[in-house]
């Protein structure tokens, strides 16, 4: 199967563009990158989470000069990165439990702070990230996450969202989108796949805590992701980064399509990419070429039951309506199409 490859002009911010000045190149483009998640781990081919974790942690390592400690929840990332007796982590790393990564991060940060005070410093130069998948973040880890936010503990929490409990064999989490097939939301009966519920938008919930920084990103836009990590590291206090990471195995997509599917998630409006500070959206990544959700859904077998004869066109339409709502809510289009005019700001104040 061929893919179209586009060649970009020099001077653009293409990943790996050697013609950019060194400061403008991505961390990943540098041979001196930390490679925090070293090769040899056991992730599936095309794993979005492995990609996202390497991108994010390397960026954090550069931003902190390598002064970084990571707490990791149980899940795919933890399992494939530390297969007994090996570890692919190149930074101090602690795995405790499934639901407590945020609290463990809080504890690490507190200890570092006291140690720094004992050394006569106002604050520690060693920073903390806590990371986990959607299961460990939106479900079982939700209480600890909220506690960390509420106390404004100095931790950057990174959620790698592949929309399900993948490590245990693909089961539904509160991040699983409507109609998706998982082991516990089978493609059977009148409403195959996951039900249409309220969803749990953790980035918005993080914003409701009014923490200093919240951002979403995908593995399709490395530069954007790195910039957000580095920005987060300039801020002290509770920060949250939600990264969209396709899972070829769980989603039934081709392993070579991981980045493409992430891009489609952005371009359909299914996954809004934005930044927020202290409870208000400060920037959004506009959709460059809007595509209907079908382009995003078709390459994933977890949505296969929506297509075919007769398929579930009404469900596809509902999913499209959800994407449209995101476009309006976040103002994701430069020039709003009729019916997709942006709503007020997400903190309730009107757009200028």
């Amino acid at each position: 199967m061929t893919q179209q490859v586009k060649f970009y002009q020099t001077g653009t911010f293409t990943v790996g563009n050697r013609l950019l000045s060194p400061e403008e190149r991505t961390v990943q483009a540098s041979i001196n990158r930390n490679n925090s998640l070293n090769s040899g781990h056991r992730a599936c081919q095309g794993c979005g989470e492995a990609l996202g974790a390497r991108y994010a942690v390397d960026a954090a390592m550069r931003a902190t000069g390598g002064r970084l400690v990571a707490a990791n929840a149980t899940g795919c990332l933890e399992v494939f990165s530390t297969p007994y007796p090996e570890s692919s982590w190149q930074l101090p790393w602690l795995h405790s439990l499934f639901g407590n990564a945020a609290a463990v991060g809080t504890g690490i940060a507190a200890a570092l702070q006291v140690k720094a005070q004992k050394a006569g410093k106002a604050q520690s130069d060693i920073r903390v990230i806590a990371q986990g998948g959607d299961g460990g973040t939106t479900d079982i880890g939700f209480g600890c996450l909220s506690g960390m936010f509420e106390r404004n503990d100095d931790v950057l929490y990174i959620c790698y969202d592949n929309e399900g409990y993948m490590n245990t064999g693909v089961q539904r989490s509160s991040a699983t989108p409507p109609a998706a097939r998982t082991g516990t939301t089978q493609a059977l009966g009148e409403a195959p796949g996951a039900p249409f519920g309220q969803g749990k938008n953790v980035p918005l919930i993080a914003m409701a805590h009014q923490i200093p920084y919240v951002a979403t990103a995908t593995v399709a836009d490395l530069r954007d992701l790195e910039t957000k990590v580095e920005k987060a590291m300039t801020i002290r206090g509770a920060r949250y980064l939600h990264i969209f990471v396709p899972c070829p195995l769980g989603w039934g997509s081709a392993s070579r399509d991981t980045i493409k599917i992430a891009r489609l998630a952005r371009e359909t409006g299914i996954f809004p990419v934005f930044e927020a500070e202290n409870g208000a959206v400060t920037d959004v990544t506009r959709i460059r070429h809007r595509v209907p959700v079908e382009a995003y859904l078709r390459p994933q077998k977890r949505f296969a039951h929506l297509f075919g004869d007769p398929g579930h066109p009404e469900t596809v339409a509902r999913i499209q309506a959800g994407a449209d709502r995101n476009i309006k809510r976040f103002g994701l289009l430069d020039a709003a199409e009729p019916g997709l005019e942006p709503l007020g700001r997400l903190d309730g104040s009107p757009r200028p």
Partner: protein, 417 residues
């Protein structure tokens, strides 16, 4: 310095003297006064530098403690009952990772039915977790054991529970000798971690261990507790040399030398037992007491040595294994393997029911004449038990048990207990 203060306050001050660096706590009766006391010391600056974190659940408390201890900070928390259960996953995680967290368990019953009063079910429920478990008989001992606990935990790199009876000790005003900061500093050096999250020497902690090595890791925890059997008496001796009084150790014998009957017990009930034993000794009954201070590791040899010459052993416990009987008595029986004697389990004080000297004397009088059942529930109201059983036998929709019993007891009268 001698003080007349509440047990919780004594523990708070003693813990503060140990210079903890991170304290995380979630409130639950009857531990609240301890964390409030320490919190005040941190807020006022008396205990500094120290991070005092108000967490959102007990599960969060132990998780924060895990992160903190892994980063090399001396870490403390406290809980009881439901809180200990809620953090159970993290309790096992802490001992599996070998993190020397010190935790006070203000012993309290576990619901349902909800009950805030003292018994030992909470810490007993975690006896297999790998945590060291020490029991205090009095508030003086509670404060002394906390100081020993930090030393023991950090030497072995294992977490430790200091168990003190909720309300009976935590909320009682008693005379205590509070050590000075200099004395504690001389006894307890700064924490030197065996493993630590440090960017200068990165390590991965908490990775999966497969069948190839899991048994070895678990065995090592057991090996450490076996080492603790040696260290606990040694540290108690070091403590006595430094502070001038006895506290801790594995067991304590009281009038057991020529005793034909020996009562075994843990915690504050030991005081009331001594009074009962003295009264019976005055009537020439050859009876003595063995107080178990270290429950994990369980001092099999010390218990055997203390009990082996007795004719009968009565284990008086505030714990209960539904479907079997005693918890402590099961461990005691193991210590007595191969020795023929009469063994009795007396379950008492569950859910905070008072254990009185008179009641103990009556029960022990029966024991001495071998008139006790192998398993006895002290002061159980058989009337209301049988009424409920009859009720359930006669009708399917018999209603909630606890509410039925309370109705049978009559209007709850506010009479003197």
């Amino acid at each position: 310095m001698m003080k007349q203060i509440e047990g919780s306050e004594a523990v708070a001050e003693a813990v503060a003297l140990c210079r903890p660096e991170v304290i995380c706590a979630y409130p639950i009766s009857p531990q609240t006064h301890i964390v409030e006391g320490i919190g005040a010391l941190v807020k006022s600056g008396a205990l500094s530098p120290c991070a005092f974190i108000n967490v959102e659940s007990e599960f969060a408390a132990m998780s924060v403690a895990i992160g903190s201890s892994a980063t090399g900070a001396r870490t403390y928390t406290a809980t009881a009952s439901q809180g200990l259960l809620l953090m159970a996953e993290a309790v096992y995680n802490a001992s599996g990772l070998g993190l020397p967290i010190v935790m006070t368990v203000a012993n309290r019953a576990i619901g349902a039915p909800i009950n805030i009063w003292n018994d030992h079910s909470d810490s007993m429920s975690q006896r297999d977790s790998g945590w060291l478990q020490l029991f205090a008989e009095s508030n003086q001992e509670a404060l002394d054991i906390h100081i020993q606990a930090f030393k023991l935990a950090e030497e072995l790199s294992m977490p430790i529970m200091v168990c003190m009876d909720g309300f009976i000790l935590t909320h009682a005003y008693e005379r205590v000798a509070m050590p000075s900061q200099e004395e504690v500093d001389a006894f307890l050096p700064p924490y030197e971690p065996r493993q630590v999250l440090d960017p200068d020497e990165p390590v991965s902690i908490g990775a999966m261990v497969g069948p190839e090595a899991f048994m070895e890791v678990r065995y090592l925890a057991h090996a450490k507790q076996t080492m603790a059997l040696e260290r606990i008496p040694e540290i108690a001796a070091e403590f006595e040399a430094a502070f001038g009084r006895k506290a801790g150790g594995l067991v304590r014998r009281y009038r057991t030398e020529d005793a034909e009957t020996i009562v075994v017990a843990l915690g504050s009930v030991v005081g009331t037992l001594e009074e009962a034993i003295d009264a019976m000794r005055d009537r020439d009954v050859k009876i003595g007491l063995l107080s178990i201070r270290s429950f994990r590791p369980f001092p099999l040899t010390a218990v055997r040595e203390a009990l082996q010459h007795a004719k009968r052993v009565v284990v008086l416990e505030k714990a209960f294994s539904v479907g079997l009987g005693g918890v402590v008595s099961t461990d005691v029986r193991l210590a007595l393997s191969g020795i023929q004697l009469h063994g009795y389990t007396v379950v008492a004080g569950l859910g905070g029911r008072s254990i009185t000297k008179d009641s103990l004397e009556r029960m022990l009088a029966d024991a001495v004449q071998d008139k006790l059942e192998p398993l006895t529930f002290l002061d159980l109201d058989w009337g209301i038990v049988n009424r409920q059983l009859a009720r359930e036998a006669s009708i399917r929709k018999s209603g909630p048990i606890a509410e039925n019993l309370l109705r049978d007891l009559g209007t709850v009268q506010a009479k003197a207990p």
